[in-house]
């Protein structure tokens, strides 16, 4: 899980063009949307693409995004549970 969380931080920064953020600046449980990292609805869609492309995990409903993408840990947990081989 820790390795996945570490991987995700790097991938999120790259996918969302967070130029001035370093992986060690994102804590595992900090909120990603709204106040946290300031991500918005388009970022959520990019995260859906990221999960599909890099982690074989599908999110069919964009409305589930806010719950799944609450923090890096919640994303990692979702992937672990729903990843298709």
């Amino acid at each position: 899980m820790e390795q996945l969380i570490g991987e995700l931080k790097i991938q999120i920064i790259e996918a969302l063009n967070l130029k001035h953020v370093k992986p060690e600046q994102i804590s595992d449980d900090q909120p990603l949307f709204g106040e946290g990292l300031g991500l918005d609805s388009i970022d959520a869609l990019e995260l859906i693409v990221l999960l599909q492309q890099k982690h074989n995990t599908k999110i069919a409903n964009a409305q589930d995004g806010p719950k799944i993408f609450k923090s890096v840990r919640s994303i990692a947990e979702y992937i672990t549970l729903h990843k298709t081989s």
Partner: protein
Amino acid sequence: MNQVFVIGAGVISAIGNSYSECLSSLMHCRSGIAALTTLDSIHKGKLPVGEVKLSNEALAEATGGNPALTRTALLGLHAAQEAVKDSKLPDLGAWRVGLLSATTVGGMDKTEMFFPAFMQDSKAGKLKNVVHHACGSTTEIMAGYLGVKDFITTINTACSSSVNAIMMGARMIRHNLLDIAIAGGTDALTRFTINGFNSLMILDDEPCKPFDANRKGLNLGEGAGYLVLASERVIGNLQLNPKAIISGYANTNDAYHQTASSPEGNGSYAAMKNALAMADLKSSDIDYINLHGTGTKNNDLSEGTAVKRLFGEQYPRLSSTKAYTGHTLGASGGVEAVFSVMAIDNQCVFPNLRFKTAMPELGVQPQMEMQKTNVNHVMSNSFGFGGNCASIILSSFKS
């Protein structure tokens, strides 16, 4: 300032290849949305879209255009030619004529055929496929065939593009910069836009349900719609019978998000309000609103909120004809302006197909069936990505 008259209208969409065909479909509740057939895409046979039922070859034959032209240009030419014919102008050359055309797709339908081969091998791919890629090229091609030389311009403001083109045409006539304006827009279906809207997760995998509580998104469509606008001098001189007048219009920016509308519908509210003010009308004067009504959660709630803010509980009959045609993107304002002319010309309002349940937040009930009724003033809304909000009011000539 000059009044602006509508003396011709032309349209092509998923529900018909002409003004009369589209009108018949609207009146008989015949939607044109069906599974994608033409594009070579993973969505073929599955994704509901509003395809025009003519091939490029058929469009070329009907217009006298080159079949190798982009589909956007062929669709535009088809509708614009119909509009000019409908206007019964004996000679365009006798007047200062402008072509103000909107498109977001331009020649993308051909360009996307070029790239796969080119990406594999930089010497492969047919360059002639990219020659007319630019949006401006579409307009220039059309101007060539229509014989318009005095003023040509292309507008691209996403889904509000063709209303902005009509607004500009009207403005130029009001300020005596043009006598006649052929104004509207055209867009063809492409894999580019299908993939893009799919990535935004705002497509409905079933025929859309605008303004319905259970709406799931939009259906993409293609088409073209143009009005021929003229000044009083032209009308008087040629003794023409106008179909309608452009009585008001407005454009604002929502200044909220690149693609989403503000929850309060600020941009749309201001655009509708300013259009009413320009037309010197009260909200109760509007007989029918042709909504932008794409069927997305966001647009319909935002637009519905704006409508209620402006009209209160006494909102006029309203419907989204995108349930018939799909969302024709840059052409939607033009297509729907023509539908608005039809509403005035035939004294009727069109239903909002597939509507069952009102949005619980607003309780707005769109028009459920085709209805003959007094229609003097029609408001047509078009809201585009980038926060561009446009609203136009067409009124009957006698009012």
